[in-house]
Amino acid sequence: MTDRDPASFEGPFAEAYAELRRLASAQLGRRAGHTLQPTAIVHEVFLRLAKSGEDRALARTDCLHLAARAMRSVLVDHARRRNALKRGGDAQRVPLDEAVAAYEERSTDLCALDEALDRLATFDSGLARLIDLRFFGGLSIEETARELGVSERTVYREWQLAKSWLQHELGEDAS
């Protein structure tokens, strides 16, 4: 496991973030009425990153984490804007609302989750990264295990800890 924060890859991260936003609107433009599939987009971004990552000597796990991290940022930024708008009156529903809603159904307010994850990263960046990969990257336990080079059992146990800690940290809001 590596402790590098992907956000420190200034260039690739910014690139991933931009790519995600572009893809998100493109997908939705094509598929009006459908729920956005954020994990699909993460994977697509990952594939592009992985391609260019070879030139930059990025590990594939890092590419994947980058993509997941970028997804998290896109969703959190959108949630933050939405929260601000809510206070200002009725907002028209925009495409990313669906994705944010899908994530919030499975966790809690994304801004709160984001802050909790940042806190977690200060003392256990590995666990924060695991949550990024699983939740925002859409990786299964098995894929995560492979990416991190540990056994599934380890991922499973860490996942229990991650969920318990987040539930504890987010209190009553967590579903």
Partner: protein
Amino acid sequence: MTPEQWQRVRELFHAALEQPPEARLAFVAGQEEDDDLRRLVRELLREEPGSERFLEPPTPPELLSEPIQFRSGSWLIGRRLGAYRVEAEVATGGMGTVFRAVRADGAYEQEVAIKLIRPELASPLLRDRFLAERQALAQLQHPYITRLLDGATTADGLPYFVMELVEGRPITRYCEEKDLSRRERIDLFRRVCEAVQHAHQSLVLHRDLKPSNILVTEDGTPKLLDFGISKLIQEPMDGEPDTQAPTLIGAMTPEYASPEQRRRERVTTASDLYSLGVVLHEILTGRRPDQPIVAPEHELRGDLALVVSKALHEEPERRYASVEQLRLDLGSAVDGLPVLASPDSLPYRAKRFLARHRIGVSALALVILSLAAGIVGLAVGIAEADRERLRAERRALEAEDARRDAKTQAEAAAAAREEALDRERVAQLQAKRAERILGLLSDLLLAGDPLGAPEPDLTVLEALDRASSRLENGELAEDPPSEAVLRSTLGLAYFGLGAYERAEGHLRAALETQRGTAPPDVLATTLNNLAGALYQRGELEESRDLLDEGITVAADLPSKLADLKNTQVQILRALSRFEEAEELQRQVLETFDTSSSDDATGWLSYRQNLAQILQELGRPKEAREMFESILAEARELEPRQPLLEASLLTNLSGTLVEPSDAEESLQQALDIYRAHLRPDHPYIAHVRNNLASQALRRGDFTLAREGFEEARALFEKAYGEEHPSVALVLNNLGQVARQTGDPETARELYRRALDIRRATLPDDHPSIEESELQLGLVCEAVGDDETAVSLLESWLRRGRQASSLPSSLGIGVRATLARAYSRTGRKPTAEGIYKSAIAEAEEKLPPGHLLHRSLLEELLRLYEDWPRPEEAALIRERLER
């Protein structure tokens, strides 16, 4: 929190998770650790387990329907694996990556495919399993199945398989790109079936059949990949955590998995058959059954639709029995021959209906349904038999050909000729047989137009009789299986008409032929139907034996078991063993498959039985609520089930307190029955009897007597004179006579009822006790004291009255008995009985009860007659107090 503190939290948390759930908190409390840390860990443990969805990523994307694949083996290219050199990557799938490789040891030039299993699917046991399975897989030699050549592990422990290299494309793509006709697609698919059947006969299941495992080479030869491999990795592995399971399912392709595979239940040949069905659907219509219609003109119709849906049946036991059967039936469907997959719902539902012995369809509809079932059954049985025989004949011919050492070409020509001849002969045989059956049944079919208004049922009964007499004349004697099917059909038809004796005759004959030869579901159905007919005829002992036999036969057939148990419930009720009946009925309901949509009626009927049992157990309030809720649901059924509604109304009436409510409910039921049943149907008799009972409750003796008489005539016609229902109505008539001051007639009626009950019911049946009591009481009233003494003594000896009946009845019975003793001169016995009755009255009845007083008066008379003046004086004194 510092990383160091957190590290301790993490360790304690994981250590606690190793403990059994109930011991975790105590475990944490027992550790030497900082209080705040321990509190945090305890709180974390209490958070567990969260909601299932918490932090689970949203559904995997549909635009990437394959799980995302990370290339994990490109480093292998150019390297050597065993005797092979890896040349290029060919494909990546759920199970791993496939490479093209060549033999590198120079022994000979051979290209192979190497499949590298995904690391997370690998296990140290895989190699062992492979070795164990290799024997079976090596035997799997078929031109359409890719050979498995070897299996080993790479230097760093990743398992791989070496297989014959196939250059082909998935069957779906092949069909599209070659623009095959429907006929060509079916022919291709039938060859796939041959390969799967071959594997099944070698006891190898595929478990993951899907287009990407069914390749077709450029010259049109199908090649199946990965036979037997999925078993190696899909079985749960020892020592793996539970999270392994979703992984394995992830490796499979859920779109082609059978329902039982998705539920992770036992996988059988029927599961492979299901997956084949999905593939067949896809190559014929361009979509899987779970996808929206893409090309309406390609949607399946007629026999082909039946064949595919039989392969895709939710219940494995209702799919084709084998892949071979599917292959044959597909052939029949394209050749326009009758298919095995005859309408799934119609006969099945008809059989279920009838087997359940609940009323639910009008008599005519029932006859027609059961005939449809019979004819379909015949077609299945006959087609099978004919195919078997022709196959045997052909083998014989082939053997002869071989012996004559004919040239290969001549053999091929002969085989082709035979094949053509076979088809012709099958067609002829079937036509002949169908003609004969139709001849036999034409009377029936002419008796009513299935779509028109019901003809009078009498015609149907007569038509059934005509068909029966033709059978009795031996018209099908040379073909026992067909005769058995037809007899069981006629038996059911009679059953539905309430003609139980005739039903019994046919069902017995059918059973005799089917025992030992028919498949278990057919045999179980006949056993259940015969048991039902015998139950109706009051032959409970034999009925029970048949049901036990049926339950052994149908051990693996859940729906048959439910039917059989349901009949057992009826028998337990007839034996007044209501607690057992309740338990069994609840069992049946628990295992009832409510998901099968065509069975709403069955579900309601089973619940109705339970409500009846509750009523019989003396829980009328529960029973009434249940009847009312079932009735409400029944009225929502589409199409309406008037007879079910009528039977619910009848039962409901028994739980209603107000006679007028009960009568209204019964009247509604009677109207429905009269509109839908022949006028002498036994159900009408039951309702008439119940209506008359209500009239008796109100004291309208004329109306009551009329109703009972009518019911008696109907019962006797339907069941004969010796039947518990006849006894019941005779008893009721006895009550009318008794209450209208005609104890002589009452005695005759009660006597007859008791005789019938003793002849048809088990010795300890409560109805017998009831009869003994009534007859005993009325005998005393008409002065037949000896009979009264023996009946009442016997009733008292049973001791039942002590617990379940009001004590006044027991006391009253003893008073009557004492009177009979005293009149026959056995004064001391009478005195003893009076005294104990008086003591009990003083203990259990309210002070000043009439019965107490009349007991004292009778005892006084006894003493005065004896004469015992001293005792008489004492009693007189007590009376004056």
